[in-house]
Every structure is written in C-alpha cells, then in structure tokens.
C-alpha cells in the first residue's frame, strides 16, 4: 500500500482529497489529510462579515463534512516535514511515511512583522479582515463606529485576494451611505503599489470608481511602523497617514511549519514549478494554492484551477509519465463595487484583465471588467457553489482550468 498525504484541509487540500479519492485505485493507495482545525471557513465571506451582509454561520462549517469517507482525516498539529526521509511528524509524536506529499498549508497574516501593528490597539482601532476573528471584531466595531478617518491599507505584496482591500473600501462607502453617516467618514486607500489599480486596462476602465465614491488614494506607501499612540501609519519616506480606524492587510506569510521544515522562501512560501505544481526541490512533493510561491494571485479560484491540473499531474507522476506544464495562472474573480453591483475579472500569468463576455464569447451572461447587478448576483451565488461544488471537486460547467482568450477584447 502506498501513501499520499495532504497537509492542510482548507480550500486546496479539501479539493485535492475529493479529486484524488475517485482517481487513485483504493487497493494501492491510501489517502490521508491532516489539519489541526475543525472548522472550514468560506474565506471570501470575510469581506462581507464586517458589514453584517453575511452572518458568522454563513462563513463556517464543520470541515469533516467535506472530506470523503475513504480518506483518513487526522485532526492534529503538524510538527515537521522531513522531505529527505519522506516523513511527516505530528505534534502528538506520530510519524507518517509518504510516497507523495501535497502541501496545502495556505497563508496567514503576520501583523508582528510591522512595529506597532499587533500591539495595544490591535482589534481596538486596528483591524484585519483576513481572519474570522478579525472580520468579526471589525463587524462589532463598525456597528457602533460614528465616523472619522477610515484608512484601508495593504502592508506589502503578495497578499491573498489582492482585490479584497479595494472591495472593502467600496463596500464601506455603501455601508456608511446606508447608515446615513457617509459625510462623517473620510475613506483613504493606502497601497505600497503605484496605484489602487495597477494594470493599464483596469486603471482606464475602473479608476472612476474611486472618484465616484470619493475614496482618496495614497500610493507607493511602504509602511515602516504604526504609531498607535498618535493614530498614524508612517512609511520609509516619513510620509504619515492619520487614521481613526485602520483596516489593514498585514504581511501574508506561509505557515510556520514550512519555515520549521526548511522548505520555504523569505515569506515561507514553497518554491514551486509554476506550470506543473511540483515543488522545485523534491520530485514527490507537490504544492497548491496559497502555500506556493507562484506568481499568480493567491485566491480560491486559482486553487480550484490548479487542483484540476495537479490531479492529472499526480496521476502522470504515479505512472512515471512526464508532467504536463499546463497551469497558466488562471484566476476568475468577482469584485464587489458596492450598491449591489460587482465586476468580473478573468486573467492569467500573461494576460491582464480586459473587457469582454464570460463564459460564452459574445453572449455572456456575465460582463468582464464592467460593473453590473448580474455580476453581484454571481458573487452571491458563489457561496453556494463553493460549499456544494467547488470544494467537493465538482467541475464548474463551461469554466476551463486554463484561461480562454475567446470573448475578450485584448486590443
């Protein structure tokens, strides 16, 4: 009997367990998935939780429900990966041998990386919304906040879902309008990049959103520290931005397990071949989703497309066939713009998001890079798709793992 072990039962790990259980012969392969946490979160929902659009119940479920019964599910903390010996050590002392390992340990926020961020004001006047705890604490804060300077801030790239902070700013504008206190709230978007939008077509098509919603932009801001006593963030050029409420996306880092095991880069992401998803250092270790160092967006849709390609490559690896260099960095994301509207973007390593129709060329029904109510309904419907199709490894009809160039206006 051979062993395939999946580390992490988040979006990627759960999808891989579901894909592989029906593809690997049960008499030859045993599949194990390990995760210390019981709860599976619908992470895109963390964007809506602070605004009371989703309830806590809508964004979490018992993870066990989504792991197939023929897969061994171990709820233990992983202590170490020993890649030279093909072993995984658990905190309780158990040592597991593997023939193939899939690393799906994701990314975490690391607020300790910036002086003054994770201090006395953390979850008082400084919040993240990339964790369940952060999004919930921010919800409680927003329920009673009476206005002032709201700063939406990105610490450094890469981050999970790079559009989420922008969506947060848009939804905040709507939220305060509905509350009747928009005139008492000043919204500023602070980014280390050259703009809130960084791709030429998107900048041209979407910059009006910031102007229309009166969201100020501070660009090229590389934060050095948070002066939480005086309510300001300060960058390396000594530029200061004052806040009353700071909603930040802290540095994103791979799991500490990757660092302990000596398998990561500076940010604990696993160096991975960008088209095959095999790790660069070990041929029987593969990585997927946020845990990798791929130059793709860290997002569930990317993990979903990767999972289809990684499944095929694992089958090829088992048969001794060459791996297919197929993954193209495909991402497909709804972007909330507030007031019941959203955009849809579809892009990959080489093609920036452009206008067009999706998934049927020339027909739609969804429009790319344009605000519409249909796109917003798509985003809302996606929660159902996530729980009922995506993490169960069910193919989403008409949406291929690699990006289609049809129906898009590249020039």
């Amino acid at each position: 009997m051979k062993n395939l072990i999946i580390l992490g039962a988040g979006t990627s790990g759960t999808m891989m367990a579901n894909h592989l259980v029906s593809k690997l012969p049960k008499k030859e392969w045993s599949i194990t998935i390990i995760d210390q946490f019981k709860t599976h979160y619908y992470q895109p929902g963390f964007l809506f939780l602070p605004f009371d659009i989703y309830t806590t119940k809508q964004v979490k479920k018992n993870g066990k429900k989504f792991i197939p019964k023929d897969v061994n599910y171990i709820q233990e903390k992983i202590e170490l990966i020993v890649p030279d010996e093909n072993k995984v050590n658990l905190e309780n002392g158990t040592i597991l041998d593997y023939d193939i390992l899939i690393v799906a340990t994701g990314t975490k926020i690391a607020p300790d990386e910036i002086e003054g961020m994770n201090g006395a004001e953390w979850y008082q006047s400084i919040f993240d919304f990339y964790t369940y705890e952060g999004a919930k604490a921010l919800r409680d804060k927003l329920r009673t906040w009476e206005g002032g300077k709201l700063v939406v801030h990105i610490t450094e790239m890469p981050i999970k879902c790079p559009v989420a902070p922008l969506e947060f700013a848009f939804l905040a504008d709507s939220f305060f309008k509905h509350k009747g206190i928009r005139d008492k709230v000043d919204i500023t978007y602070v980014t280390p990049l050259g703009g809130a939008f960084t791709k030429p077509k998107a900048t041209e098509a979407l910059h009006y959103l910031l102007e229309e919603k009166n969201i100020k932009e501070v660009t090229d801001f590389n934060i050095e520290r948070v002066d939480y006593k005086n309510n300001k963030i300060i960058d390396y050029a000594d530029t200061e931005v004052e806040y009353d409420l700071l909603v930040t996306v802290p540095t994103n880092m791979g799991d500490a397990l990757i660092e302990r095991s000596g398998m990561g880069d500076d940010l604990n992401f696993v160096p991975t071949h960008k088209a095959t998803l095999q790790t660069k250092d070990y041929e029987n270790i593969f990585a997927i989703g946020d845990a990798t160092n791929l130059p793709a967006s860290k997002a569930g849709s990317v993990a979903h497309f990767e999972a289809e390609i990684l499944t095929d490559n694992i089958l090829r690896y088992i048969k001794g066939e060459p791996l297919k260099e197929e993954f193209d960095g495909h991402a497909n994301c709804f972007v909330e713009t507030g007031n019941g509207k959203a955009l849809l973007i579809d892009f990959n390593y080489t093609h920036e998001p452009v206008e067009g129709t999706f998934p049927f060329p020339g027909v739609g029904p969804l429009k790319l890079l344009k605000e519409s109510r249909t796109n917003h309904m798509g985003k809302m419907a996606f929660r159902w798709i996530y729980w009922n199709m995506l993490i169960k490894g069910i193919h989403i009809p008409f949406v291929s793992a690699t990006m289609s160039e049809k129906g898009k206006n590249f020039e």
């Binding site: 990049l193 939008f197 090229d220 590389n222 050029a237 960008k274």
Partner: protein, 102 residues
Amino acid sequence: MKKIIANREIDVNEEGYLVEFTQWDREVCECIAGECNVVMTERHYEVVEYLQEKHKKEEPLSIRGIKKSGVVDIKEFYNLFPGGPLKISTKIAGIPKPKSCI
C-alpha cells in the same frame, strides 16, 4: 508602442516601461534614468542588477526583499531612487513594476 530612447526605437508600455528586456542596455538605462531625474552611479547599477536578477527568477519585488538583499538598505534605496523607489528603479532596470491583479 514604440519610443525613441538613446536614438533607438524601443518597445514600451503605456507608462514607459520596457516590454522587451533584451532591448535594455546601459545607454537606454541612462536615458530612462534621466527622465526620472536620476543620475546613474555604480551604486545605482548594483541595485538595478539585483532587481533584474530577482525578476529573472520570477521572485516578487518588495521593500522586504530590498531590506534582505544585502545590496542596499531601505534608506539608501530611497535616496538613490527618490519618490516611489520600486516604481522608478524597475523602470530604469527595464523590468515591469510590481503589480496587483487589476
């Protein structure tokens, strides 16, 4: 689109960043630097070469990376390329600026 840089036709994007790195050399580099009000010194070139190396390896460019580079510290990086140092240094190095997905 094309732009005349150092008396040559060079392929650039809407914001003046090189599209083909093979067209980059020190002459082109110094012209772009001039447009950004930067006078190139050997120190500048050390940073430019570091950035080009990172880009070749497809590693994302960030201030953290600069801090750990061993080539230059952040204060000097800001002094060498005043304004938006990553945005300006990448343009001079003939590589794309750090981007997000939209």
